[in-house]
Symmetry: C2
Subunit: 345 residues, 2 copies
């Protein structure tokens, strides 16, 4: 690779930020310089990776003057405040928050599905919701084969989707239980150890959570299927890493399970693990820290005539967040769409 970008990571101390640092090094993304940013609270903190050390800086509007590219993963309010400041300073933003995803001027990109959309940006490219990306690694290849009409999803979401504090909360609750003690929940409204919370993100007036609506709204935008209906229920489970989803999907064309399995195998984002009679199906412990998502339990749906029921598992910090963001910039770099921008300031 022949271009060397000045890259900033905003939210470098968070769970996704750590994975971004990992991938930039592991995949040898051509950076002249990497700078790590976080809130004022974390500024000054040292981060080490592979023998290198960085001092975390406070993210401010001026931070973007020298950057070509910034990957934001510090939550919606930081993105809303600072992404426009970055764009104004000639810095391309890949935003992992939900702040701009449904903005018609902002491409929402999963490279295996709609990489080309990334070229239509006006300074910001949005990374989709983690659960939606994982589900689409199973659904999109089937959509290409049979034409997706509508689907149902029930999720099983790991605590690392909430962040580092939630991982710590599950650990502490389980350790306390092992000693016969209990600790009060702080991150979640109820205990998560040995429990289930049908509550991911804030509730909306229609009774769904924001997370549940993202599955329908973001799927529509990513796959350019404006009218597709998706009814989703999101549940937090006591798993550390990797989200899982049960999907019942209806298609326009008659389905063939052999064709469906081949479509999953041929798709670069997914791996078929589907020999249930031999105990082979995707599980969170096998798909944590794996780049591909696992698809299994594929069978004819019992309700929809042209339907397939499936089970998808994927590392929501990797393909669901950091890896997808890196794949976007890699695709743009390889296809000549990533520029070292002229600096305005």
């Amino acid at each position: 690779m022949d271009r060397n970008y000045n890259l900033g990571i905003i939210g470098a101390t968070g769970a996704v930020g750590q994975e971004l640092i990992h991938f930039i090094h592991e995949r040898n993304f051509p950076c002249a310089q990497i700078r790590l940013f976080a809130s004022a609270r974390s500024a000054g903190k040292k981060i080490e990776y592979m023998g290198k050390s960085w001092t975390v800086e406070e993210a401010r509007p001026e931070s973007f003057c020298d950057l070509d590219l910034a990957i934001f993963s510090a939550g919606g309010s930081t993105s809303k405040k600072l992404a426009p400041e970055a764009v104004e300073r000639g810095c391309l933003v890949i935003d992992n928050s939900s702040a701009f995803r449904m903005d018609p001027k902002v491409p929402l990109v999963v490279p295996e599905i709609n990489a080309q959309a990334s070229t239509q940006h006006e300074g910001i490219i949005a990374n989709p919701n983690c659960t939606t990306i994982v589900a689409l690694m199973g659904l999109y290849p089937l959509h290409r084969a049979f034409g997706l009409k509508r689907f149902f999803a029930a999720t099983y979401q790991a605590v690392s989707g909430t962040g580092a504090a939630a991982i710590y909360e599950l650990e502490e609750q389980v350790k306390a239980w092992a000693l016969g003690n209990s600790v009060s929940p702080e991150v979640y409204p109820h205990p998560i150890a040995f429990n289930l919370l049908p509550h991911v993100d804030a509730f909306l007036e229609n009774g769904y959570t924001k997370e549940e609506m993202k599955m329908q709204n973001e799927s529509r935008k990513i796959m350019k299927l404006a009218g597709i209906q998706a009814s989703t229920t999101c549940v937090r489970v006591p798993v550390f890493r990797a989200h899982s989803v049960v999907i019942n999907a209806e298609f326009n064309a008659p389905v063939d399970l052999d064709v469906a399995r081949q479509a999953i195998t041929d798709f670069s984002g997914s791996e078929l693990v589907d020999e249930p009679e031999n105990g082979q199906y995707p599980m969170p412990i096998d798909f944590a820290e794996k780049e591909k998502c696992g698809v299994g339990r594929m069978r004819r749906d019992l309700v929809f005539e042209n339907g397939i029921t499936l089970w998808v598992v994927g590392d929501q910090l990797w393909k669901g967040a950091a890896l997808n963001a890196i794949q976007i910039v890699e695709w743009m770099h390889e296809n000549g769409h990533l520029k070292v921008m002229p600096k305005l300031i």
Copy 2:
């Protein structure tokens, strides 16, 4: 209550057997005598409850000579072998296994739904699958209100549904993790701590598990809805007790959420917990050792026009097994259908 029955519990040392002993005492079922049975391996073992002590006997054909009533909870093969022996000896069998559930001569009973069916027995009455019972505590009141057409279910099943050994397995895996160790799984084919297994019961040729097919087949029989379609995916989760189910249901009549919530509230088997904006929804830790099942997250389905999405949680050892069995015999006793049978031997 004025009748005094000689009651046997077959499988008394198991997870459901223990709950049967609890309910017989707590609900003061009129027994002249209670005898506890298990396999030859457990014979001689002492069981204590509320200051009383029993010696477990080996279950054999002759065991039923003096019994009016036997509740079986020792697995399908024991039921297949011994239930006919019990019937032959004039003993009424309430069978908690799947052995006879789909036999047209055997009533499959959830007292809140089809108590009257219990009067049509020929010696055996079947207790439905635990997950099906829990799901129906949410679905049946809605069926009465709007007429159920078809539904999807994704389950989150606790390890106690597998039995006492699985509870121990989750405990040991979590304790080992807390000490930085690991232990090999024995009950399940893969670790269950911090993991999910999309695998409950054996796989069938159509790619579904037996457990998944029970949801459709048993729902049809219990609600007398022969043609109803249900597509279910069953997942084991690292929760000790209480099964949870996401349901997307379509109805024949237009749905009204106020009517739906009132139907749940008015139904004796369920409790409405549905103020998600205040963090109120059913959770396993709240519905373990609770007689009613919790129903919440009720909202209009986004795919089905006449559809409702809901979340049901219930103690599968109680309403899903032991309590339902006891409620069957209570209803029969109170309605004069339980006889002290003439002994053949």
